[in-house]
């Protein structure tokens, strides 16, 4: 085991998978010498050269389209979209082609593509550099969504994503890059589609993913001081969803809080909350509660940003409300 940064875990996964499989290549803006806006790919061009660590012009839509076309002829491309906000420029190629080609061409093609992208706020970057847009992808069949919260899962899930034969959106909340965690020294993978109980508890199930898991764990500690035992589940993958792990926990606790950094309306929690309602209505002792960003753009001012984005305090209060229901 070694303790490494989240960004290092991503870099190690890229390095190991590129050494393992020569079909893997990286495409993105400023990813070669500069190492990407968050320096995640720093040092890779020295090892693998500019053909495989391929700097692109600022052309998000066609970078993704090029990835799709290259995958059709045997490549396994990984695209870095510098900020998740910029993925809106590539939605055409992602939704119309990457997500559909396999199905609409009668399963003639496989598209092993990974789209890595930093999401989220809490850095004061303002409305077009702070978004968490993963919920858009939940309503688009054909793209898996991974959003790990620890260096361990980031490395293991990125390896799974690269070895997967489907398009995978790999969401890296930028607040996580500087967090540290234990990572095995030997090769390992974390399969996509498996949620993880990261804290056991009996009174309430708190479900989240990516950076919000850290907020939920902090809230759980605060709740423990109040005598509340919160079970925290890290979804890790949003598509496919591991409903079994969620159901097992809720059958035990009967109470649910969901938390995400994205907008409240039509968000990840909205979808999962409804699925839980459909499956577990008779197990629920209280209405399902969600914690999410306000339905306004993420502002730049630290005061406003903190007000708009959810944190551990919001999770703590939501749990208290859910427990207050009889």
């Amino acid at each position: 085991m070694s303790e490494i940064f989240y960004s290092q875990a991503i870099r190690d996964a890229l390095r190991e998978e590129m050494a393992r499989d020569e079909r893997v290549l990286l495409l993105g803006e400023d990813i070669a010498g500069y190492g990407g806006a968050f320096r995640v790919t720093r040092g890779l061009v020295e090892q693998f050269g500019p053909e495989r660590i391929r700097n692109t012009p600022i052309s998000e839509n066609s970078i993704v389209g090029v990835a799709v076309g290259s995958a059709m002829l045997g490549a396994r491309p990984i695209v870095e979209i510098m900020f998740m906000d910029f993925i809106t420029l590539a939605i055409d190629q992602l939704f119309n082609h990457a997500a559909k080609f396999r199905f609409m061409f009668g399963e003639q093609v496989t598209l092993p593509i990974v789209i890595r992208t930093p999401s989220g706020g809490r850095r004061g970057y303002g409305p077009t550099h702070s978004q968490s847009l993963e919920s858009l992808f939940m309503s688009m069949p054909g793209i898996k969504i991974a959003a790990p919260s620890t260096p361990h899962d980031a490395k293991g899930m990125l390896k799974s994503a690269i070895r997967d034969n489907n398009p995978v959106l790999f969401v890296e909340n930028k607040s996580l890059y500087g967090t540290r965690g234990e990572v095995p020294d030997e090769d390992y993978v974390v399969p996509l589609g498996s949620a993880k109980v990261v804290r056991e508890g009996s009174h309430v199930t708190v479900i989240s993913y990516s950076q919000m898991v850290q907020e939920c764990l902090r809230a759980a500690q605060m709740l423990e001081r109040d005598g509340v035992s919160a079970e925290v589940i890290d979804l890790r993958t949003l598509n496919p969803l591991d409903m079994d792990t969620l159901c097992r926990s809720i059958e035990k606790t009967g109470r649910v809080v969901l938390a995400e950094e994205g907008h409240r309306t039509g968000g990840v929690c909205a979808e999962i909350g409804f699925q839980l309602f459909e499956k577990l209505y008779y197990y629920l002792d209280a209405p399902i509660k969600r914690v999410a960003a306000l339905d306004v753009p993420v502002p730049a001012s630290p005061v406003l940003e903190k007000f708009v984005l959810p944190d551990h305090q919001d999770v703590y209060e939501a749990v208290k409300e859910v427990l207050a229901e009889v």
Binding site: G65, G69, M72, P77, F105, L111
Partner: protein, 319 residues
């Protein structure tokens, strides 16, 4: 005309006629109510499809667009599974899931077509990138219309292909209208090929209704891109003798213009040329053979089973 040349022309004639007959049959089926959905016919543009595919090798790749029946038949040589696709059958080239504008036949090198204008350009550039990185000597022929040349993907993909010197032939079928919008309303330049300079690549404008001119231009382009010199733009001037899609009556086009282009029908022009070189009965027998082949394609489509709905949701994922 040498014997080899006339054989070649007969073969082009046969394929062009196959495309024309295929689409005129579709038209009838829509009128009869036997087909539903929509289709974008290429009637009048058969010389670009056949000429361009004749200019590349069978091992090269094609990326097509929404108006792709001609490209498909020219590249794969067979109308059967395309006809089945139009009927939504399990034996269709896309298993009945794609319909008219979402077709692929990877084994024949027909990589993709799709309904997003300009959507195929980055796909073609990506395929060309794989070819280059794997050190293979194939090329990608990407068909697109004048309308697509105003999409952001045109600039983005052509630019990438040019800086990376990808083996990509950009084949623009300029039929003078982007749906109903005349070329001059959408372009500040006179020709799509005027834009080639901006990417430091050759841009050649040709008569798209002469199949031999098209073939020769694409041959030259293929030589250029195969040598590693980067992409090459061919702009073929042509005209669709029909609406943009089956619901379009073409009210926006002047009658005189339509009449002028009707005289330049590529099939009529080629037939006239062939009559000077081969006996009339040879042409007649090709025309009969084409009708038979389309009859067989229709029979195949009608006799084919409907697609299964089992595990449709599971089928979106590859193992």
């Amino acid at each position: 005309m040498s014997d080899i040349e006339s054989r070649q022309l007969l073969s082009y004639y046969r394929t062009m006629l196959l495309i024309r007959e295929f689409e005129s049959r579709l038209d009838k089926f829509f009128v009869d109510g036997r087909l539903h959905g929509t289709t974008h016919p290429c009637t009048g543009q058969e010389a670009t499809a056949v000429g361009a595919c004749a200019g590349i090798r069978p091992t090269d790749y094609v990326v097509s667009n929404h108006r792709g029946h001609g490209h498909f038949i020219a590249k794969t040589g067979t109308p059967e599974r395309l006809m089945a696709e139009l009927f939504g059958k399990a034996t269709g080239v896309s298993g009945g899931r794609g319909g008219s504008q979402h077709i692929a036949d990877i084994a024949s090198g027909f990589l993709a077509s799709n309904g997003i204008t300009g959507g195929g350009l980055p796909i073609a550039a990506g395929a060309a990138l794989s070819i280059k990185m794997q050190g293979r000597d194939q090329v990608v022929l990407c068909f697109f219309g004048d309308g697509a040349a105003n999409q952001g993907t045109f600039h983005e993909s052509v630019n990438m292909a040019a800086i990376w010197k990808l083996p990509l032939i950009l084949f623009c079928e300029n039929n003078l209208y982007a749906m109903s919008t005349p070329f001059n309303d959408a372009f500040p330049v006179s020709n799509v090929s005027d834009r080639a300079d901006g990417y430091a690549m050759p841009g050649k404008i040709i008569d798209g209704n002469d199949v031999c001119v098209v073939r020769d231009a694409v041959r030259e382009a293929a030589r250029h891109v195969r040598s590693g010199a980067g992409p090459y733009l061919v702009e073929a001037l042509t005209y669709r003798h029909c609406g943009h899609s089956k619901s379009d009556g073409c009210e926006y086009r002047p009658d005189a213009e339509e009449a002028e282009w009707a005289l330049k029908d590529p099939i009529k022009l080629l037939r006239k040329k062939l009559l000077d070189a081969v006996p009339q009965q040879e042409i007649d027998s090709i025309e009969q053979a084409v009708r038979n082949e389309i009859d067989e394609a229709v029979a195949f489509a009608l006799d084919s089973p409907q697609p299964s709905t089992d595990d449709l949701e599971g089928s979106i994922w590859a193992n």
